[in-house]
C-alpha cells in the first residue's frame, strides 16, 4: 500500500481541532487508512543519510506517514487525505469540480498526430488557471505526480504526467511521434540541448530516469509534445523540457498525460486537477483542453461529470445485514464523497465524482455505506449455512502416516518446495533431462530456481545444518513434490511423497529397510505384496540400494546415500534413506 507524508500541523488545521495520536490513529482505523509512522522532516533526512539518530529538536515539524488503499488515487496527497477526513467528519461538504465556461474558440487545442498510435496513442490535458503555490503545495504537487507514476501509472508505462508553465508556451499544441534524432531540446535540469537519441544515452547513468528508458527505447519514433513555436514541452514518458518548467511562481499550469491506457490517463488527470483546483482563484474550476485525434474528432477534457449508478436499497441492507433507511444510507454515503438520492423502486441514485474511480459496481457503494456506518457497529450474526466438515482423503491419509513415522522414532522436518537446480540435480549426481522438473523463470536468487522433484535435497540440507546434533539422527518429511505432467491443464502436478533418513556413525541401511517394512505394514500391504529389487540410482550407494515395487510399478527407492552426495552436501556421517510416492496407497 502506498504511504503519504502529511504534516501533523496541517492535519490539525484542516480538521479544525487537535487530535492526540491515539485519537487520530482511531480515526484512520475507522476510515481504512493507517497511521504507519510518526517522524519529522529532519529525521527522514537523517535516516536517508544514515546519520546518528540524535535527540529531535522540539520545534521540528511532526510528519505523519499514512498508508492509503491502493485503489484510492485521490488519497495519494495530503490535500486528498484532508478532504476525505473533513468530509467524513462533516467539516466540509463534497466540492463540485467544474470546467470553466469558455467560448469554444478560446479553448486550447492538443492535436494528436497519427504516428503516436505506434508508441503511445493517448493524450489528455487540462489547465489549472490562477493557481497559487507555496512551498508545501508545490512539494505536494510534485509528490502526487511521483506517487501516481509509481502506482496507477505502473512506473510510467501506462501513463506519464507532464506539467508546464502555460505562460511560457503558445498553443495550439501537437502530440507527435518522431525519430529520436529529429527531436532536439533542453531537458529539465540541464543547460544544453540534446537530441532525444543523445538523451537516451545520457540518462543511462541517471539513477531515477534510467528505469523508464525501456518504455520507448526500442521504438523507431519517440512521443513528443510541441507548442506552436516548436518548443518541446516534453518527451514522454522520460522528461519535460526546461523551457516550460513550473516554479513556485507559476500561475497557470498545463497538465498533459500521455498514455497507453486511456481509462487510466483520465483517472490520473482527474486526480491531479481535483486535488489542485482547490488552490485556483476560482476554486475547483478547471480549464478544459480540446484533444483533436488524427481523424479530427474533438474530445474535451478533463471529464469532470458525475457518473450515476442506481443501487437497490435492499441489496445494501441485505449485504450488510443492517436494516438501514434510505435517508440514513444517503447520509452515510455523503461522508464518503458520494452524493445520492432516493429514487423510485426502492433504489438510490448515486453520483460518483471524478475522484472515486474505484467505484465499479454497487458492491463498492455498499462497502462505503458499511464503512461510514462503522464495521464495528454491525451486529454479529451466524450464517445459517448447514454443512458437514470433511477432510481431503489425501491429507487425512498423510496425517495418519506422519503419526506412524513419529511413533517409529523419526522426527518431522518441513522443507521448501523451491530449491536450486544444483541441489535438485548436480549435487545428487543427477542431470536435468528437462522432462521432470518445473522451472521458475524469474527467481530472485538461485535458491528458488526449480520445484523439487524429490524430498531428498531438503532433507540433506537439514543434515548439513545438523552436524552438531547427537547421532543417530532420524528425520522424515511427508510433503508434495512437483513433476511435469502434460495431462494436466497447467502442465505440472503435485505428488505426495514420504521420505525418511537415518544418519549415524554407521549407515544403518537395515534400519531404513525396517522402516520401509513398517510403513508397508501400517499400509496393510502384506510382506508378499511388495518387492524390492536392486537398483542403480546415482544418488545412492552401489549394492546397498533397491527400488520398491507395488502392484507392478515402482513407487520409490531406498539405500545408503552415495558418499559423493554426502560430500556435496558437506555431511560427515553415513546416511540411509527411503523415499516413496504415497498417493497410490490411498
Amino acid at each position: 500500500m502506498p504511504t503519504v507524508s502529511v504534516a501533523r500541523e496541517l492535519l490539525h488545521t484542516m480538521l479544525g481541532r487537535v487530535y492526540t495520536q491515539e485519537e487520530f490513529d482511531e480515526l484512520c482505523f475507522v476510515i481504512g487508512i493507517e497511521l504507519d509512522d510518526v517522524t519529522t522532516e529532519k529525521a527522514i533526512i537523517r535516516k536517508e543519510k544514515h546519520l546518528q539518530e540524535n535527540e529531535a529538536d522540539e520545534d521540528e515539524e511532526v510528519i505523519y506517514k499514512i498508508e492509503v488503499p491502493a485503489n484510492r488515487y485521490d488519497l495519494l496527497c495530503p490535500e486528498g487525505i484532508c478532504r476525505q477526513l473533513r468530509i467524513f467528519l462533516r467539516v466540509e461538504k463534497m466540492p463540485t469540480y467544474r470546467l470553466s465556461r469558455l467560448p469554444d474558440s478560446s479553448i486550447l487545442k492538443m492535436i494528436v498526430k497519427p504516428e503516436t498510435a505506434v508508441i503511445r496513442p493517448f493524450v489528455v490535458c487540462a489547465i489549472l488557471r490562477g493557481i497559487t503555490f507555496d512551498q508545501a503545495r508545490y512539494a505536494s504537487f510534485i509528490d502526487l505526480q511521483d506517487r501516481l507514476h509509481q502506482n496507477i501509472c505502473r512506473k510510467r508505462t501506462l501513463v506519464a504526467i507532464g506539467t508546464h508553465d502555460l505562460d511560457t508556451l503558445q498553443g495550439p499544441f501537437t502530440y507527435e511521434a518522431l525519430p529520436p534524432s529529429e527531436i532536439k531540446f533542453i531537458p529539465l535540469k540541464q543547460a544544453q540541448e540534446f537530441t532525444a537519441k543523445e538523451l537516451m544515452e545520457f540518462y543511462k547513468s541517471d539513477l531515477k530516469l534510467k528505469k523508464f528508458l525501456h518504455i520507448i527505447e526500442d521504438s523507431p519514433v519517440f512521443p513528443v509534445i510541441y507548442d506552436s513555436n516548436r518548443t518541446v514541452l516534453s518527451l514522454p514518458p522520460i522528461i519535460n523540457g526546461a523551457h516550460s518548467a513550473i516554479s513556485l511562481n507559476t500561475k497557470n499550469v498545463l497538465i498533459e498525460c500521455t498514455a497507453t491506457d486511456l481509462t487510466k490517463a483520465k483517472i490520473v488527470l482527474n486526480t491531479m486537477v481535483a486535488m489542485f483546483s482547490g488552490y485556483c482563484d476560482e476554486k475547483f474550476e478547471v480549464e478544459p483542453v480540446d484533444v483533436v485525434d488524427p481523424v479530427g474528432r474533438v474530445t474535451r477534457c478533463p471529464d469532470l461529470s458525475l457518473r450515476t449508478m442506481d443501487v437497490d436499497l435492499s441489496y445494501i441492507k441485505k449485504s450488510i445485514g443492517v436494516p438501514l433507511q434510505a435517508g440514513e444510507i444517503v447520509d452515510l454515503l455523503s461522508k464518503m464523497q458520494l452524493t445520492s438520492k432516493e429514487i423510485d423502486g426502492d433504489k438510490i441514485q448515486v453520483f460518483i465524482p471524478p475522484t472515486r474511480s474505484d467505484i465499479l459496481h454497487p458492491c463498492d457503494v455498499m462497502e462505503d455505506v458499511a464503512v461510514a456506518y462503522g464495521f464495528n457497529n454491525i451486529p454479529k450474526t451466524r450464517p445459517k449455512t448447514s454443512t458437514e466438515g470433511r477432510q481431503q482423503p489425501l491429507n487425512e491419509f498423510s496425517d495418519l502416516l506422519r503419526l506412524e513415522l513419529a511413533m517409529a522414532g523419526f522426527s518431522e522436518v518441513l522443507n521448501w518446495v523451491l530449491v536450486s537446480k544444483k541441489e535438485n540435480f548436480t549435487l545428487l549426481n543427477r542431470k536435468d533431462d528437462e522432462k521432470i522438473a518445473a522451472i521458475v523463470s524469474n527467481p530472485r536468487s538461485s535458491d528458488f530456481e526449480v520445484l523439487r522433484t524429490s524430498l531428498l535435497p531438503g532433507i540433506l540440507k537439514v543434515m548439513e545444518h545438523s552436524k552438531d546434533v547427537p547421532r543417530p539422527v532420524k528425520v522424515f518429511e511427508i510433503s508434495d513434490v512437483v513433476l511435469l505432467d502434460p495431462s494436466k491443464d497447467v502442465g505440472a502436478a503435485n505428488s505426495r511423497h514420504l521420505a525418511a533418513l537415518y544418519c549415524s556413525t554407521t549407515s544403518g541401511f537395515e534400519i531404513i529397510h525396517g522402516l520401509l517394512d513398517r510403513i508397508m505394514n501400517v499400509l496393510n500391504v502384506p510382506v508378499d505384496g511388495y518387492t524390492v529389487e536392486p537398483s542403480n540410482e546415482p544418488e545412492l550407494f552401489k549394492g546397498r540400494q533397491a527400488k520398491i515395487f507395488y502392484k507392478g510399478s515402482c513407487v520409490g527407492s531406498f539405500g545408503i546415500i552415495h558418499p559423493q552426495v554426502l560430500k556435496n552436501f558437506d555431511i560427515p556421517d553415513p546416511c540411509s534413506y527411503v523415499e516413496m510416492e504415497i498417493e497410490r496407497f490411498l
Binding site: T263, S319, L360, T381, P383, G389, S411, F448
Partner: protein
C-alpha cells in the same frame, strides 16, 4: 598394576589405619595406578559417603618438546662446546657439524657463558663444562623441586611449561567402611525373586537431576499448529479443498478473481512465473470469455476495468500466490455442478517472489476459509470470524476497512493482544466481488464470505520464534522440534 577394584580396596584399607591421604596423586604413584583411574574410584566413594574427598590443586612443571630433546641429548650450549676440538675450528665448520637450531642457540649461549672464544677460530676457553640445564630438566621430569630462579630461567627458554594437577585430599566419610558393598539403584527381578529388596541398601536418588530423555519421534511445530487449525475448521463444519497444485495459471490465480492484468501483484517482483511449463492452454472457453468481458467492459452491474484484456497474460503459469486460486476453481465447479451451500477451507503453500528476511520467506502456508450461500451478510462474516478466532483464544476482534481487488467489502482483522497491550493484525477477510462470482455462473443472490491468514505468524507468536527460518526450512534446529510443546491454541 592394580585395577579399580584393587585401588578401591587399597584406599579404604589405608584409611583404616591412617587419618588422611593428603595427595591422591602421590598415593596413586605409590600404588602404581593411573591417577585418572583412582580419581573415578574416589568420586564414586565420595558419592556414597565412604570417604570425604577435597580438591587439591597443585601446579607442577612439565617439559616442552624442546626441553624433552635437551633432557636426552644435552643442552645445545654443551653440544656446541663438545663439538669444538681442542685445536679450534672455523665457525663455518662448526656450524656444519651441528643442527641449525642447536648451533644457533648453543653457540650464542656458550659465548655468553664465556666457554668459547673466537680468535678468529672458535676455540675452548675453559677445559670442561657441566650440563646443568640437562640435569635440571631431568629433575623436573622426576618431579623434584627446583629453585625459583632456575624455574624462571627454564621457563624463559621455553623448555618447561606449567601443568595444573587436580588431585584430592581424602579422609574417612560418614559411611566409611573398610570394604564397600555396592548400593542398589534399581529394583531388580532378582531382588523380587529372592525377596532381598528389603535388605538391600539403595543409593539415594538425585531428584535435582533430570530423568533419562525419552526415545521416539516428534512432529513439526508448524504442522502441529496446522492440525489445530484443521480441527477448528472441521468442528465448524468446513470441507477441505484439494490444494495439491502449486503450479497454477494466471487465469485462475488472478483473472478469475477480477484482478486486473496491470495489477502490481502480477509483477515479476511479486510472483514466480514459470519457464517450464510456461503456459496453460486449456480453459473453459465460455467462462474465459465472460472473464475477459467483465475485465474489459464490465457487466452484471459493473463498469469493469476498461482495458484490453490479453489471453497471453492469463495463460502464463505461476506458482500460486494464494490458495484463493483453488477457491476460484472450486466455486466455478460448484456453479457448474449446481449450487449448494458450502463451507470450504484449506491450509497449504503459497509462493511470493519477495525479498526474504526474518519474517518473510518465498513460500509460506495460507489458511483460508470461505462460506458460500444465499443471503450471507457482512454481519455473518463478522460473526463467523468471531467464532473462528475465539477458538484460537482471540476473543476481542475489530475490523478495519481495506482494499483487495477481489473482495468488497474488505476487512482487515485485528485482535487485541493482551501481552503486547495493543491491537495486532491477524488476517484479512471480505465478501467476494460479484464480478468474480457472477461470470462463474453462480446464482446472483449467492454471496461468498471469506478470510485468510498465514500459518507461520500465529505459530511464531505461539512458540516465541522470531526468525521464520528457525521454524520452516532446512535451517530448523532439530532440538527445537524435539523440545516443542503441544499446540494448545485456544485451550
Amino acid at each position: 598394576m592394580r585395577d579399580a577394584d584393587g585401588a578401591e580396596r587399597a584406599l579404604l584399607a589405608f584409611l583404616e589405619s591412617n587419618a588422611e591421604i593428603s595427595n591422591s596423586e602421590a598415593f596413586a604413584r605409590d600404588l602404581g595406578v593411573d591417577h585418572e583411574l583412582l580419581a573415578g574410584t574416589i568420586k564414586s566413594l565420595h558419592g556414597f559417603g565412604f570417604i570425604e574427598a577435597k580438591d587439591v590443586r597443585r601446579e607442577s612443571w612439565e617439559l616442552t618438546e624442546e626441553g624433552l630433546v635437551y633432557s636426552r641429548n644435552g643442552s645445545p650450549e654443551v653440544q656446541v662446546f663438545d663439538a669444538v676440538p681442542a685445536g679450534g675450528i672455523s665457525r663455518e665448520d662448526l656450524q656444519r657439524k651441528l643442527d641449525d637450531s642447536v648451533f644457533s642457540i648453543g653457540f650464542r649461549k656458550a659465548m655468553s657463558n664465556k666457554w668459547l672464544e673466537t680468535k678468529p677460530l672458535v676455540s675452548r676457553k675453559v677445559l670442561k663444562v657441566e650440563d646443568v640445564v640437562k640435569q635440571q630438566l631431568l629433575d623436573i621430569k622426576d618431579g623434584k623441586n627446583l629453585s625459583a630462579a632456575d624455574i624462571d630461567a627454564l621457563k624463559k627458554r621455553k623448555l618447561i611449561v606449567p601443568k595444573v594437577w587436580k588431585a584430592y585430599s581424602i579422609t574417612k566419610g560418614a559411611n566409611y567402611a573398610p570394604t564397600r558393598t555396592k548400593a542398589a539403584t534399581e529394583v531388580t527381578r532378582e531382588m523380587l525373586l529372592k525377596e532381598t529388596w528389603s535388605e538391600v541398601a539403595f543409593k539415594p536418588y538425585n531428584f535435582q537431576a533430570l530423568g533419562q530423555p525419552t526415545e521416539g519421534g516428534h512432529l513439526h511445530p508448524l504442522l502441529k499448529v496446522r492440525t489445530k487449525f484443521r480441527q477448528i475448521f472441521l468442528e465448524m463444519g468446513f470441507e477441505e479443498m484439494p490444494t495439491n497444485n502449486f503450479v497454477e495459471s494466471s487465469f485462475w490465480n488472478f483473472d478469475a478473481l477480477f484482478q486486473p492484468q496491470q495489477h502490481p501483484a502480477r509483477d515479476s517482483h511479486d510472483t514466480f512465473f514459470l519457464k517450464s511449463p510456461c503456459k496453460t492452454q486449456t480453459f473453459p472457453e465460455d467462462y474465459l470469455e465472460r472473464v475477459k468481458t467483465i475485465h474489459e467492459q464490465g457487466g452484471f452491474g459493473s463498469i469493469g476495468y476498461m482495458y484490453d484484456w490479453k489471453r497471453e497474460e492469463a495463460e502464463k503459469n505461476v506458482l500460486r500466490t494464494h490458495t484463493t486460486a483453488v477457491s476460484s476453481r472450486m466455486l466455478y465447479k460448484l456453479a457448474q455442478d449446481g449450487f449448494v451451500p458450502k463451507r470450504y477451507f484449506s491450509i497449504d503453500r503459497v509462493f511470493r517472489n519477495e525479498a526474504v528476511d526474518r519474517t518473510h520467506l518465498a513460500e509460506f502456508h495460507q489458511i483460508e476459509g470461505l462460506i458460500c450461500d444465499k443471503g450471507l451478510t457482512l454481519g455473518d462474516l463478522i460473526g463467523v470470524l468471531n467464532d473462528f478466532f475465539s477458538r484460537l483464544g482471540m476473543k476481542k476482534l475489530r475490523f478495519k476497512p481495506a482494499y483487495n481487488p477481489y473482495t468488497e467489502p474488505s476487512m482487515e482483522i485485528f485482535s487485541y493482544h493482551e501481552q503486547l497491550n495493543k491491537w495486532v493484525e491477524v488476517g484479512n477477510s471480505g465478501m467476494f466481488r460479484p464480478e468474480m462470482l457472477l461470470p462463474m455462473g453462480l446464482p446472483d443472490d449467492v454471496s461468498v464470505i471469506a478470510w485468510g491468514l498465514s500459518l507461520e505468524r500465529p505459530t511464531m507468536i505461539l512458540y516465541g520464534i522470531d526468525n521464520i527460518r528457525d521454524l520452516f526450512g532446512h535451517k530448523v534446529d532439530l532440538k527445537l522440534i524435539k523440545s516443542n510443546p503441544i499446540c494448545r491454541l485456544g485451550m
